[in-house]
């Protein structure tokens, strides 16, 4: 008797599935929006020598002091679980940091939870707050996770159009008009992925009034807060009476170029953080201790590196925005993050066609606006988290591409 196949490998066993295949995957997951964009992504990944403006993460490596701290932590044998909420030393450091930067007061014992990325923090917040049928308002175009996670939790995403004419922002009036008895809260992300838009304190105050008047919860994803170029970033919980209604999400991925470390934090009222911790302890147990040690170093000793990266992004922003407008792809000036969101409507092409043709003809990758919801049609997301040389070359290629397609429109 042998279990080994003709070529020395274990034979593959195909389990024939009796059930109709459709029923294996849960209804909820089947109903999640399919990623139509996947085909385009596979095209990008399969192609060589592409200049990519498609990347949603910093092009810097994590500053050395942070990496070195992680190496040291491993050497010293920091290899175990931590408390569910995360190392108290890190939570204390976060508390001090938020106080120093924004005058925020969060109790490290009960109001801060260390999460595996803002991705997890967001998931926990929605799970902790959403009952079946609850509505969450989501400005669109939007970061890709918000709608699907809301649906997974049995909630109902309700998309608000971020008005391009208003710099891709939603207004307080819009939020109010779309609120009814089933509306639980608002998910706001500023500075924004994909539009780069951010909100001034005055705009946020108007939104805060609506939040209070209709007894809503705010889930505020401020992961790009350190990349705000034209004014000081205002965290939502600093607004009057908003701390008790806000889940404040922030992390290390963008500010400190730490996407691969999977480390972030959520701050909020004690009962919400307790509810989120309850889920977190079952699904995640805790965040990686090594990343937690590194994150602490990031908060303590990286101001200079963060500022240097920010200056570099700002220069690239000025460059790419002025070039795009020269080329004839009109583009508002994004207040933050590292994305330009130019309009391609004048070319007469759809976002996906534009992106595909640009990739095929000029080997430049950018993300069709529709990846961020139907309201992204007519736009492209171009990340300027890439070297200045790449940006220069990409803009030259886009210029050539646009000049060539113009006559046919």
């Amino acid at each position: 008797m042998t279990m080994v196949g003709a070529h020395g490998h274990a034979p593959y066993i195909t389990v024939s599935i009796i059930m109709n295949k459709k029923n294996i995957i849960s209804r909820t997951v089947q109903d999640l929006p399919p990623s139509g964009i996947r085909v385009f992504f596979d095209l990008v990944i399969g192609m060589k020598d592409v200049i990519s403006l498609g990347v949603g993460e910093p092009d810097f490596v994590t500053p050395w002091n942070i990496r070195e701290t992680a190496i040291y932590a491993i050497e010293q044998g920091y290899t175990s679980y931590t408390s569910n909420k995360g190392l108290i030393e890190l939570r204390q450091e976060i508390s001090r940091y938020l106080k120093r930067r924004y005058g925020l007061d969060y109790d490290p014992e009960e109001e801060i939870l260390i999460t595996v990325g803002v991705s997890e923090g967001f998931d926990l917040a929605v799970r902790a707050l959403t009952d079946h049928g609850d509505k969450l308002l989501i400005p669109e175009p939007s970061y890709v996770a918000y709608g699907p996670i809301t649906s997974l939790c049995g909630g109902q995403p309700l998309y608000l159009k971020s008005d391009p004419a208003a710099g891709f922002k939603v207004s307080a009036g819009q939020i109010e008009r779309n609120t009814d008895k089933k509306t639980k809260g608002l998910i706001l992300n500023y500075p924004n992925n994909p539009t780069g838009a951010s909100y001034s304190k005055k705009e946020l105050l108007d939104i805060a009034k609506v939040i209070e008047r209709h007894d809503l919860i705010m889930i505020s994803d401020e992961i790009y807060c350190d990349l705000t170029y034209d004014f000081d970033h205002t965290p939502f919980p600093t607004l009057p009476r908003m701390k008790e209604r806000t889940v404040y999400l922030n992390g290390f991925s963008k500010s400190f170029a730490m996407t691969g470390w999977r480390i972030a934090y959520a701050c909020g009222p004690k009962d919400i953080i307790a509810a989120m911790t309850k889920i977190h302890q079952y699904t995640m147990l805790c965040a990686s201790v090594i990343s937690q040690m590194a994150a602490r170093e990031a908060l303590k000793n990286s101001d200079r590196a963060v500022q240097e990266m920010k200056r570099e992004y700002r220069r690239r922003r000025e460059f790419i925005i002025s070039r795009l407008n020269e080329i004839g792809l009109s583009c508002h000036k994004p207040e933050g993050a590292f994305y330009a969101f130019p309009s391609i409507k004048d070319t007469g092409l759809s976002s996906l066609t534009f992106a595909q043709e640009l990739l095929k003809r000029e080997k430049v990758a950018a993300v069709p606006g529709t990846a961020f919801g139907p309201m992204g049609e007519g736009y492209l997301r171009m990340s300027y988290a890439t070297s200045y040389e790449n940006l220069k070359e990409a803009m030259a290629r886009i210029e050539r591409f646009v000049a060539r397609i113009k006559p046919t429109t």
């Binding site: 990944i45 949603g56 993460e57 000025e318 993300v367």
Partner: protein, 161 residues
């Protein structure tokens, strides 16, 4: 002004047009800023950083750090003797130091022999020099903020949301 210098320090070939775009400043103003910085001597000159480790043998050179102890001169302090030393083209850098010696100089020559000759024939016999210690540089890892190694290729996937 500081940011303009930051750009040029990293890339002396950045054009006023490019710099203007990066800083959101008119090209004519950028040209003016640069002209003024050159006039004031803040910008001394534009150089190219060459990784000499990669040159062929006959084009390569060696460098040594030399600690120099000197007798300061009345009324002139260290400046006079420093000037006599740094005028030699072999001397690429010259610093006055605190601590156990006085001047730190960097000398460049075609080979070990050339540098040793310079120390023995030019430097040591100089009046008011009490002694020298020569350290040859064996390998350069980083110089003036630049790591002398091709950076690793980016490991980021080409597209993420």
């Amino acid at each position: 002004m500081k940011e303009l210098l930051e750009i040029l320090e990293n890339n002396a070939r950045a054009t006023p047009e490019e710099i203007g775009k990066m800083l959101g400043r008119k090209v004519s103003l950028v040209k003016n800023d640069i002209k003024n910085l050159e006039k004031n001597g803040v910008i001394l000159k534009y150089k190219t950083i060459i990784n000499k480790e990669l040159l062929r043998e006959e084009d390569s050179s060696v460098r040594a750090l030399i600690e120099v102890k000197v007798v300061p001169q009345k009324n002139l302090g260290f400046d006079h003797i420093a000037e006599r030393i740094y005028q030699f083209p072999e001397v690429t850098s010259c610093y006055l130091m605190s601590g156990t010696y006085d001047l730190l100089i960097i000398v460049e020559g075609k080979n070990l022999q050339k540098v040793s000759n310079f120390v023995a024939e030019k430097l040591s016999p100089m009046e008011n020099i009490r002694g020298t210690v020569t350290h040859f540089i064996l390998k350069k890892y980083k110089e003036d903020g630049d790591i002398l190694k091709q950076p690793n290729k980016s490991k980021r996937p080409a597209i993420t949301l």
